[in-house]
């Protein structure tokens, strides 16, 4: 297993560097990923409703 402490330190460095970004940069990134996030959320909602329909259908069959 990779050295967990080193990895956590690396991740902390990454998170600090993200935190240090200027607000302008954070907003720019948020704008750039906004469409993806909306699609990601929509796909998740669709998946949930398909699953719920499947459960309802199997309940009504039994």
């Amino acid at each position: 297993m990779t050295d967990a402490k080193k990895l956590l330190e690396k991740q902390a460095r990454w998170q600090r560097s993200r935190k240090k970004l200027s607000w302008e940069e954070k907003i720019r990134i948020a704008e750039a990923v906004r469409e993806d996030v909306a699609k990601w959320r929509a796909a998740s909602a669709k998946h949930t409703s398909i699953k719920a329909r499947g459960k309802r259908a199997s309940r009504s069959r039994s």
């Binding site: 993200r18 990601w40 998740s44 998946h47």
Partner: protein, 169 residues
């Protein structure tokens, strides 16, 4: 994100990584209300985890395809991406048992909510407590499921503390 899905699947197909799963805030958003995030975290299993530079081959593969480094990560389309090798039995299991989601017709592996919550429990920062609460509130994960996973990964004491602090009925 389509580009990220393609890249991750290519990395796996080429054997550069054994497997992967999205985690962190991007995975959380699959189950809860949107949260603020400006990056994508990806758990990866690598063929030689004991290598000091476990991520070297990933960076090489990405560089050869024109993806540039972005701090400690890599820029893939609009997303700054951080690759994190599995670092415990819990994160390995989370990656192996990830769900497969679909994004614009492409498969993308995502850590399941009970694992997201238990990984958050293991790290224990304030934002991780918020993550567990958001996942519970979403109804996508039950307290029993977290308790069972926590017990298997020696986190029962942490879970009891969390319950006492935040979930007193």
């Amino acid at each position: 994100m389509r580009e990220l899905a393609e890249l991750l699947n290519q990395l796996r197909d080429a054997g550069v990584i054994v497997n992967y799963a999205l985690f962190g805030a991007l995975a959380q958003m699959r189950y809860t209300e949107p949260v603020a995030t400006v990056d994508a975290d990806v758990l990866v299993g690598v063929p030689e985890p004991e290598r000091l530079d476990a991520l070297g081959e990933i960076y090489k593969f990405c560089a050869a395809r024109g993806y540039r480094a972005s701090g400690e990560g890599i820029q893939v389309g609009a997303w700054p991406v951080q690759f994190i090798p599995v670092f415990s039995a819990l994160t390995r299991e989370a990656m192996e048992k990830a769900a497969t989601a679909e994004f614009e017709g492409l498969a993308m592996r995502v850590v399941r909510p009970e694992y997201l919550a238990t990984i958050a429990l293991s790290t224990g920062r304030a934002k991780d407590d918020q993550r567990i609460l958001a996942l519970l509130e979403s109804g996508k994960v039950k307290r029993d499921a977290i308790a069972a996973l926590a017990a298997r990964h020696n986190l029962s004491a942490a879970w009891k503390r969390f319950e006492k602090r935040f979930l007193r009925d």
